[in-house]
């Protein structure tokens, strides 16, 4: 009787350990595309002491991710800079102009991340942003949630516009237009294919 019990316990332990080992092993990242209708990419800057926000209406985000497959995860985001919208035509036109984003020469911004780590609140992507012809490291903090409602990727990043040469001539000054820009996003992911 005791022998049977010990055997049963041993079996349970073995099964649990085996399951844990399997879970710990690298899985495969799932490939997703952000749903353009439900996803949002926003930025916030400082202008004359007050915050202003804008969005990029057009962007594509290809996401390969799984919490158990960080090593094979990756982000690839293409942003149509021309689609920026700060709810004011004068400001949008100025921002598209040669002295700011210069969309005539640099119409897309590109973010790529292949390096992911788990953090206390979610994950960190150590990626690089190419904008206005300049590439810089921009870490992104995000949360990845899977529920009955769908798969969501919500996060934010901080960058300095002048690191990318966004702001030439008078716009180089940070007295009236701040250097720091907050970027935030909320993506609804749909499995690719």
């Amino acid at each position: 009787m005791i022998r049977t019990l010990v055997a049963a316990v041993a079996l349970c332990v073995t099964a649990t350990v085996a399951a844990a080992v399997t879970a710990g092993a690298a899985g495969t990242a799932t490939s997703y595309l952000a749903d353009p209708q439900q996803s949002r990419l926003q930025f916030a800057g400082q202008q004359a002491g007050a915050e202003f926000t804008g969005v990029f209406h057009k962007f594509t985000a290809a996401v390969e991710f799984a919490p158990d497959a960080l090593a094979s995860s990756q982000f690839d985001v293409q942003i149509d800079v021309n689609s920026l919208d700060t709810l004011d035509n004068d400001r949008d036109t100025t921002m598209r102009g040669a002295d700011v984003f210069d969309v005539a020469h640099w119409s897309t911004a590109h973010y790529v991340a292949r390096n992911f780590t788990k953090t206390a609140t979610g994950y960190k992507a150590a990626g690089a942003l190419t904008m206005h012809g300049i590439t810089k490291d921009v870490p992104v903090d995000f949360q990845f949630t899977q529920s009955a409602a769908g798969v969501k990727l919500v996060g934010h990043a901080q960058l300095k516009r002048l690191d990318f040469g966004v702001g030439q001539g008078d716009w180089k000054s940070t007295e009236w237009v701040g250097d720091a820009v907050k970027v935030s996003f909320s993506l609804v992911l749909k499995p690719k294919g």
């Binding site: 002491g49 007050a50 007295e175």
Partner: protein
């Protein structure tokens, strides 16, 4: 100690409100007239940012000034003014208060309608009064503009009236609003 219910001179506080607001209005016209001709750029942004900060300062001061005025009535108009003159003086002063509220409020609403939040010298940001609305912005811009001409006109009338009282009527209407004078202070009783 003069009776506070029947002052003969504007209090130091009332004088302070009057002259600080008057100086800010001069600054406001200068900033606005300089900015309006500039192309959209950093320089215009800077001038308009200051214009907004000073404008919101005027709004706050006018609120305090009215509260002060309610507690501390101004000195009576001098005797010898005809009823139509008294009426014109009252209308002018009422119009000043209306405009001192209307100017910053239309300006604040303009900024809100264009989605440019108003900062107070970069220290804090005022909430937007209305949502983004290009039609409302244009309407508010012309209102702000027309009201500025009304304010300018009333200020000219006010200054001319003060000078007329001083040089023509030789009363103390101007002096009792001037600091560092004794006009309107009860004079020591003289034995005849």
């Amino acid at each position: 100690m003069p009776d506070r219910r029947f002052p003969t001179r504007y209090s130091a506080v009332a004088q302070g409100f009057h002259w600080v607001i008057a100086a800010l209005i001069v600054v406001q016209f200068t900033l606005a007239w300089t900015a309006v001709d500039l192309p959209l750029g950093v320089h215009k942004l800077a001038l308009l940012a200051r214009h907004k900060s000073f404008g919101m300062t005027v709004l706050m001061l006018v609120v305090l000034r009215l509260l002060w005025r309610l507690k501390n009535p101004p000195p009576a108009l001098p005797p010898g003014m005809t009823p139509p003159q008294r009426k014109l003086a009252r209308i002018t002063h009422a119009a000043f208060y209306v405009l001192l509220f209307a100017m910053p409020l239309t300006g604040w609403m303009m900024s809100s309608a264009k989605n440019y939040s108003v900062s107070w010298f970069g220290i804090f940001t005022w909430p937007n009064l209305i949502g983004k609305n290009e039609t409302a912005f244009k309407l508010l811009l012309s209102t702000h503009h027309i009201l500025s001409y009304a304010l300018f006109g009333i200020a000219v009338l006010h200054i001319l009236a003060a000078l007329k009282h001083h040089f023509w009527n030789k009363d103390d209407v101007l002096l009792r609003m001037l600091p560092f004078t004794n006009a309107g202070k009860p004079k020591p009783e003289k034995r005849s």
